[in-house]
């Protein structure tokens, strides 16, 4: 993949992430997040992870974001986060905290560049390899996942139920 493609995707991903965090309207934020998830799916594709790219679009951009948009539409009438912020000084602390975290992570990435030598190993064989792995080595966690999803479903039904009286 060319450097130009990566740069374009990275700029879109970072811009949409910033849009999610700094736009006041939650619906705009949700749509920015959809753009971000799609861009990350494209990046997966560029890394040879076709299965994950498809799953990302179906599960995240499809199912999860629809759930989010539903919740926002139901819960937030009109604009949100209006009025003066009662804890503004604390929230402004987020900027130095974020800058420190970014510097730390950048330091780790830059420091690990020295180890980035030698030819890259051959790309794993796409969907077939991950399917084989999921149903052999990771079979038990895979089955646990289905139990987890079932438990979540039952829990959601319980939480969303209207109490009688």
């Amino acid at each position: 993949m060319s450097v130009v493609t990566f740069a374009v995707l990275a700029v879109i991903a970072l811009g949409s992430a910033l849009g999610l965090v700094f736009r006041k309207n939650a619906i705009h934020g949700a749509l920015f997040l959809v753009v971000n998830l799609g861009t990350v799916a494209a990046l997966y594709l560029s890394l040879g992870a076709e299965f994950l790219a498809a799953a990302q679009v179906i599960v995240y951009a499809g199912a999860i974001m629809v759930l989010f948009v539903f919740a926002i539409m139901v819960l937030i009438p009109g604009k949100e986060e209006t009025g003066p912020d009662p804890r503004r000084p604390y929230r402004l602390l987020a900027l130095p905290v974020g800058a420190a975290l970014l510097a730390e992570l950048a330091l780790v990435v830059v420091a690990s560049r020295g180890a980035d030598t030698g030819a890259a190993a051959p790309t794993p064989g796409g969907v077939e390899a991950i399917g084989r792995l999921l149903f052999t080595d990771y079979l038990f966690p895979f089955e646990l996942t289905s139990v987890l999803l079932l438990a979540a479903m039952v829990g959601v039904l319980l939480l969303a139920r209207r109490r009688a009286g």
Binding site: M1, V3, F6, A10, A17, L18, L20, V21, A26, G29, A30, L33, N36, V40, L43, S46, L47, A49, F51, L52, Q56, Y60, A63, I64, L67, F68, A71, L75, I76, R91, A94, L95, V97, G98, L101, L102, V108, V109, S112, R113, D116, A120, A121, T123, P124, G125, A129, I130, L133, D137, Y138, T145, L149, A151, A152, M153, G155, V156, L159, A160
Partner: protein, 100 residues
């Protein structure tokens, strides 16, 4: 060919934006979406490392992260809806019942 380090850098930047979103925003729904952003950044890092090592294990891990994220979103949104029914307001500053 783009080196994997760039993917790691992009993942780090996305993660930090998610952290700032969790700290700065007042709406629990937006905080939740910022958490999704952080999960995605970590997923991108996992796929990049898997690509680097030439093994599909990273992708299998990302699959499990996606499944857990789906369960987490469903339960979390149900909790937010339940809280909204109770209080009719939606701001994390109001939710201090479990704080000492």
């Amino acid at each position: 060919m783009v080196p994997e380090t760039w993917y790691l850098g992009l993942g780090a930047a996305l993660f930090v934006i998610g952290v700032v979103g969790v700290i700065v925003r007042r709406n629990p729904l937006v905080i939740f979406m910022s958490i999704e952003l952080m999960l995605n950044a970590v997923n991108l890092t996992l796929v990049a490392f898997g690509h680097r090592l030439g093994s599909p294990d990273g992708q299998a891990l990302v699959f499990f992260v996606m499944a857990v994220a789906a369960a987490e979103v469903a339960v979390g949104l149900a909790i937010i809806v339940a809280i909204f029914r109770l209080r009719q307001r939606l701001s994390v500053d109001d939710l201090s019942a479990m704080r000492w």
